[in-house]
Amino acid sequence: MAYSDKVIDHYENPRNVGSLPKGDTNVGTGLVGAPECGDVMKLQVKVNPDTGVIDDAKFKTFGCGSAIASSSLATEWLKGKTVDEALAIKNTDIVNELSLPPVKIHCSVLAEDAIKAAIADYRKKQEEQKGAPVGAHAQPSA
């Protein structure tokens, strides 16, 4: 099976590799895994709480080329989108953009799961912040 040029490009020059401070209430972290192949993917978004727009997105993936490319592409797409727009990203969009073959579709599913998990984490943090008095709990270190 050959990887498409876009997969190779993302694999060789992954965008937005790295991490954002996990303890920041404006940062949402999604950590997901595909047990069949042993892949693990971390995707983070930094949201402007006033506008709901994703200012920054980072990822780190330990897995195959398609998993890396899927998450790299996802972070590219996430930047500048609102949280709601981000939730509309479907794994099939990633499959089409990267021309993933059927055996690698689960990599795109993983990326979609990671986006959803990151945003769910962000929302949970925002809720907790609203609910708790200021300074009620210490910020965990990143």
Binding site: L31, V32, A34, P35, E36, I105
Partner: protein
């Protein structure tokens, strides 16, 4: 029919199960239980009438504790009895049956002597979804309903990151002795995890073997727990492979 034509027609298709409860001897027409290899009446080799259960093919109960020597002995006995050389002058149907049974026997032996493959086979014939699946439907979730425990993902991620840091250090020409020491430290928790995993598999296997007459729900719970362990296995094996790769790269400096 030539031998290679017979061989060509033997397709290894171990699972899914084709269930046939009895066989019929093509020679004398007598019925035989599905686990028989030879006709109880005329002693001719029976066509391979069913696929699926490697345990019963060996005359073994569906238990995970298998004595390797006993298994090997059964394998040797059956290999000898099915051997195509003994059917050289037999009618084509019997020659084919000997090839089918020999081929199936090899598959069954390969699976049953490997403890992890044995568990996967047990899960399959007990009707659980496969641990590994290739490709699949884009609408299905990656974990096929089994979520990896978040704590495991955190741990696996952290161990992978440490290995990544070590690799970067090596590639940027860091001190070899220091990198080797750090790699040794990274290896310890992974190996401990592997040992705990093996221990857990062992305990669950013994539990399964004691549950012959237990309620279905209890048996199912054991199988589910075994399946979860097999999911963890890929992560552990990948980490161990990454450690070994790094150690090899370091050795080549």
């Amino acid at each position: 029919m030539r031998l290679w034509e017979l061989l060509w027609s033997v397709t290894p298709d171990p699972i899914p199960v084709r269930s046939v409860s009895t066989l019929e001897c093509r020679n004398c027409g007598a019925g035989a239980p599905v686990d028989e290899h030879f006709c109880p009446q005329c002693d001719r080799i029976l066509a391979l009438g069913r696929y699926g259960d490697y345990f019963s093919f060996f005359g073994l109960p569906r238990r995970l504790g298998i004595d390797r020597q006993d298994l090997e002995q059964r394998f040797r006995d059956l290999s000898r009895r099915f051997h195509p050389d003994f059917f050289y002058n037999a009618p084509p149907a019997e020659r084919l049956a000997s090839l089918e049974r020999s081929s199936y026997l090899n598959d069954a032996y390969r699976v049953l002597r490997d403890p992890a493959a044995r568990i996967e086979h047990l899960l399959a014939i007990e009707g659980l979804p496969p641990v590994k699946h290739e490709g699949g439907d884009p609408s299905t979730s990656s974990g096929q309903g089994v979520k990896v425990p978040p704590a495991l993902l955190e741990e696996v991620f952290a161990l992978n990151e440490e290995l990544d840091d070590i690799r970067e250090l090596r590639e940027s020409g860091g001190d070899r002795a220091q990198i080797a020491a750090r790699l040794a430290r990274a290896r310890t928790p992974i190996e401990r995890k592997r040992d705990e995993h093996e221990q857990c598999i062992q305990e669950l296997s013994e539990q399964w073997d004691r549950q012959d007459g237990a309620p279905p729900a209890e048996r199912r719970a054991t199988l589910d727990a075994l399946r979860e362990q097999l999911l963890e296995r890929t992560y552990i094996n990948n980490l161990l492979a990454a450690v070994d790769r790094e150690a090899a790269s370091l050795g080549n400096l």
